[in-house]
Symmetry: C2
Subunit: 198 residues, 2 copies
Amino acid sequence: MRKDAVHNRERLLRAARELFADRGLDVPLEEIARSAGVSIGTLYNRFPTRDALVEAVFADRVAAVAELAEQALAADNAWEGFVAFLTGVCELQATDLGYNDLAARTAGLDADRGYSLMQEIFGRAQRAGDLRADVTLADMAFVVWGVAATIRATCKTAPGAWRRHLALSLDGLRAIAAGPLPAPPMSTAQTRAAMQKC
Amino acid sequence: MRKDAVHNRERLLRAARELFADRGLDVPLEEIARSAGVSIGTLYNRFPTRDALVEAVFADRVAAVAELAEQALAADNAWEGFVAFLTGVCELQATDLGYNDLAARTAGLDADRGYSLMQEIFGRAQRAGDLRADVTLADMAFVVWGVAATIRATCKTAPGAWRRHLALSLDGLRAIAAGPLPAPPMSTAQTRAAMQKC
DNA sequence: TCTCAACTTGAGGGGGATCTCAACTTATGG
DNA sequence: CCATAAGTTGAGATCCCCCTCAAGTTGAGA
């Protein structure tokens, strides 16, 4: 790849990162190109589809989540690790509207290594008796979707509000709080399908 | 108003109600007109803006929510009334994607009479000691936003899943479950602003 | 320095939605 | 039955976004 091409690629990634973070994933591609100081044609040369650009921009997040997961597992207290992990993921979403859009449709479910780590965090909190026994990993999607919606609604006007929402959700996940659940957990296929619809 | 105009208005409302329910509020207006068997021009004659059409279609929901609220207040048990009310609102959202889009931005906060009824349901459950003391009416927005997001994601693939989400959220609202909350409740102004951003 | 593949450019075609308006049709009261 | 105000129509203007490609430009190796 030629030097100028590399340079333009980087400028595009920087511009996309910033615009995605501010306004979500559906920023016009022309605007990204303009903001990067290149033409729309160049953007299409480097990233043939919007998804390719999105993937390149957020590639590092997979690792960030895995990092969070490892820290969570390193915690002494299983429940505190669980809380820290979910808080970390939501923080990522809160500081980047683009990732907020994205997390709702991936939610760690694709990330090979990330998924098994999440299972471990989840299972450990459950075995410790703090996380209620009648929930599944699939139920975490409710937390992510819910907090994501709150972040979208409030990030400009009440920046910390999602923490309150998350805290309420977590209280509902504690064994202490467990009441009967009216529906079976979603199957993996249902969860996957639902995520793609975001 | 001429007889045929009344007739067309009704056909438009029926078509819009159905399409909104199936696919949400952003159905193309041309499609609504076509489905009603009139031209796009007629639609604009009867409803100068999309909002006017939406408002006309969902006018009855305000009353439906008030009705739910009254039933909730009639319940013997304050907490059960509270649960029944939120369940009812979510059911309305689940059976109508259009109302689902809408509820997130109105959530009863406009409805003069509905609002005071909600306050009463909420306060009663709190005074009874079942609803945790550290939440505000504004926190109900989290439930509505969250469940609405789950409904949107799952309505086609896991139709009952939102009930599970709602149950978990409600468990988090019970006094038994109360843990410390990390942020102050949203002010009325913040809540209102956030709703308009949906 | 020369050459050529790699790269950039931006006008323009295409699609889809919103909204308008001049020409046409029809209900209704007299 | 007529006059006319009320209503309908749909082509097309406008806007916004996506994507392509022929023409022009530039980096890098020979």
